[in-house]
């Protein structure tokens, strides 16, 4: 009400005597009234584009240096850091770990998240309690939970205790101390941490599905599994795609858990790109090599981001 009154008064004043369509002069006038927008976005450009692009460019430059991070005279070595990286089995091990880590954690989280969302949409009692328990790990810092998990999966930890309690004493082992199991423990921890978020997103997405479609399917004789497979799963596809991308980028970013729980070991079994970059840059003072790995990580993340944008558009939010 208040908004329309001055506008109509202005339109009248802007076109005295003529019968021109009112949009014409209004549009021109709006442009004239609009001051420059650049000052508004400048803080954001300086902070984000300034800092981040400066860092990216600098990383690319450093990656051609042999440098300890402190010496004033870095040595230019061209592509040597890259050549060294592509010959390093530890680097390829990290790539393999990242892919395996993503495939397994994403599959398990999707299955568990879907299952919880479907179950808690089924008039289960005390739903809030279950939701809270599953979601708490999302909020907790890996750095704080890491000592707990080191203890939990140690040779005399609670996990082996539980196995023994169920008569599975034969398979108890020092889960984190062997290269054959350490990566799987990290996957389990990641699933523990992020299933809550997957669940909440699926739960919300399922709330958007039109109930009458489900009712109609039931009347046509579709059972529970059929409804989930043919209506609910396609209905939450957008969420699944978004979660896949999130999981892929999350796997590329992985640093906190492997560094804090297994220090990327034993014998590089839980090595990720993030742990390589940190170890080379900070404790090993091989900043040039760390930067070269950073550039590769950046390119991979950017490729994921582009795919994400394209898929995001297809979803037409």
């Amino acid at each position: 009400m208040v908004a329309t009154e001055p506008r109509s008064a202005r339109t009248l004043a802007a076109s005295p005597g003529t019968n021109a369509p009112s949009t014409g002069p209004r549009k021109r006038e709006r442009r004239a009234l609009q001051p420059h927008g650049l000052p508004w976005i400048l803080p954001g450009l300086v902070l984000s584009i300034g800092v981040l692009y400066f860092c990216i460019g600098y990383t690319a430059v450093i990656s051609t240096w042999e440098w300890d991070g402190l010496s004033p005279t870095p040595e230019f070595v061209g592509g040597r850091n890259y050549a060294q990286m592509f010959r390093d089995p530890v680097f390829w091990g990290a790539i393999r770990n990242t892919i395996l880590f993503f495939v397994i954690t994403f599959t398990v989280q999707t299955a568990l998240g879907m299952l919880f969302a479907v179950l808690l949409h089924s008039r289960v009692k005390l739903g809030v309690v279950y939701k809270v328990i599953i979601f708490i790990p999302v909020v907790l810092a890996p750095a704080i939970m890491a000592p707990v998990f080191r203890q939990f999966f140690s040779a005399d930890g609670l996990f082996n205790g539980i196995l023994e309690f169920f008569g599975l004493g034969a398979i108890t082992q020092p889960w984190l101390a062997q290269s054959s199991t350490a990566l799987w423990v990290l996957m389990a921890i990641t699933v523990w941490q992020w299933t809550g978020l997957t669940f909440v997103l699926y739960y919300a997405a399922m709330g958007q599905i039109d109930n009458s479609i489900i009712e109609a399917a039931r009347i046509d004789g579709a059972g529970n599994l059929r409804v989930i497979w043919s209506i609910i799963w396609p209905g939450v596809r957008g969420t699944t795609v978004a979660l896949a991308m999130l999981g892929a980028i999350g796997a590329l970013k992985t640093f906190d858990w492997p560094w804090l729980v297994t220090v990327a070991g034993p014998n590089h079994a839980t090595e990720f790109l993030g742990t390589i970059i940190y170890r080379q840059t900070i404790p090993n003072y091989d900043v040039g090599y760390g930067a070269a790995v950073s550039v590769v990580l950046l390119v991979l993340a950017l490729v994921m981001a582009i795919i994400l944008q394209i898929r995001g558009r297809e979803r037409a939010r």
């Binding site: 709006r30 909020v139 919300a204």
Partner: protein, 262 residues
Amino acid sequence: MFEVRSLPGRIGLQLLVTLLTIPFLLPLVAMVQGSLAGAGFENYVAVLSVGRIWNFFISSIIISAGVIILVYVVTMFTAFGFSKFRIPGKEVYFWLLLACLTLPEVVLLAPLFATSVSTGLYDTYWAVILPLAALQVPFAVLLVRNFINGIPDELFEAARVDGASSWSGFIHLVIPLTRPIAAAVLIFTLIGAWNNYLLPLVFLQDPAKQTITLLPSYFIGQFSHDQTKVLASAVLTALPEVIAYLCLQRLFERGLSAGAIK
């Protein structure tokens, strides 16, 4: 969704959910149980009597508050600019910002280390606050811009015709109307800053400035691997987050979901 009418069926479902939830609870149980092993509550007394522990909390609060304020102010300006003003080359700037969405912080390690040492920011709160804020702003801007796009232009035009400047339009329209989305931004910025481990690990050497995510390693040194006290310190640091979540469940779930779908 799942339709089960019979009573045994419903009990079965309830049992299934309970069984599936137990693994999520176990680490938390192990944490509390381990922290009470041996000396019992004495472990907590021992941890709390280390005066330093409050320093870690204060540092985390300073850093989180700094990041939140910086992200909020910068995001509001930038999102408003992108949404309601004509800027030459706007699309280019926006895509440059979006490209930062998925930037892993670890990529910034080498240049930030070198730059912070040469500018004297190393071992100050700024060395953590600035990169954290820079990493959060792009997504926050995307979210808030989309939200402001939903506010009709006519509202701003009317305000202008009434003699209001863009600035007062910003203060009296944008700030109050974006409150719901600002709450989501606040939550994921807070969690991101509070839980961050890598940046404090690299850039804060002075124990007086270190954050709570560095507390476990500090206690491992302090109590020479007395696991019970390390776990007691973990419980104490996790507690504020759990309580905050329990009090603001909806807000946390909405905020972190918004933060997840980039």
